[in-house]
Symmetry: C2
Subunit: 168 residues, 2 copies
């Protein structure tokens, strides 16, 4: 190996420095870069953990979207929510239905539409996986006090409140 892979904090510092040098604003880049470093690590862990359940991240995204919605969703809505082309969703749903995790039911009021919902087995898999990932996520935040976690959540939620206004 050429050189040991740099640590996450070191990569973060370099990234911020590089973006600032290229014309980015420091207060912005510190936050955005940190969010992305964190997500990247989380994604790696999720992929590994989901492999144990024989699932891809994309399939998991479908399951969580249905769980969060609390009601049936159409393939188009699922494609939107999971950032994927509608045509890709068809195949994903075929696969998930084949495993018995979701089911498709026709919408009687609009016959172009199909409703997708979690089966009992799908729900079981969902809560199993959540309890597993909560362990890792708690570890990630272990160095933050309760007050700090609250403050971190609050600041992020301020940002989120703006999100929809921007891409209009």
């Amino acid at each position: 190996m050429a050189r040991r892979t740099p640590s996450a904090p070191e990569l973060h510092r370099r990234a911020v420095a590089t973006y600032v040098a290229a014309g980015g604003e420091e207060s912005v880049q510190r936050v955005i870069t940190a969010v992305q470093s964190l997500t990247k690590k989380l994604d790696q862990w999720y992929v590994r953990q989901l492999a144990d359940l024989d699932m891809t991240a994309g399939e998991w995204a479908v399951v969580t979207s249905l769980a969060k919605a609390g009601e049936p969703l159409t393939p188009s809505q699922l494609a939107d929510l999971t950032n994927v082309a509608p045509s890709s969703m068809t195949h994903r749903l075929d696969k998930l239905a084949g495993r018995g995790l979701i089911e498709r039911t026709p919408d009687d009021t609009n016959r172009t539409r199909v409703f997708v919902s979690l089966t009992e087995e799908g729900w079981q898999l969902f809560s199993l996986a959540i309890r597993g990932s909560d362990v890792v996520e708690s570890d990630v935040l272990q160095d933050l006090s309760d007050r700090e976690r609250g403050e971190l959540a609050r600041l992020l939620e301020v940002v989120i409140d703006r999100l929809d206004d921007i891409d209009a």
Copy 2:
């Protein structure tokens, strides 16, 4: 359409509630879920912006990794940094090299290895894109004061400092 797509804040609230109901801890889920909502939106914007430059997110990841490293990297290192299989990197590099954005040079001290570096054109594209994305990112943080941005960055950096210890 069935029902209007819910707003980002609304989706966030539902997500936290669902995860907590499934056995997750609230202080954890508020933070983790918020980070992921934010990343998802950012990714959508990046994909759109990169499309203008005729690039995919994966190709952009290669360019930024090289820019941040500040020195040539091997295909394996790039695969690690961008969360992709080494075999996929071969094709990506072929494409980027075809466009003149990167170049491969053999390592004379170890003939199994190849060094990849940004060309002048690659650097130009990098700083062009950074200045573009910084605009959107600033918009995202517009509701936060300087002090709040600093605090947000600090808290995230505390989390990042722990990251490497966890997946050991």
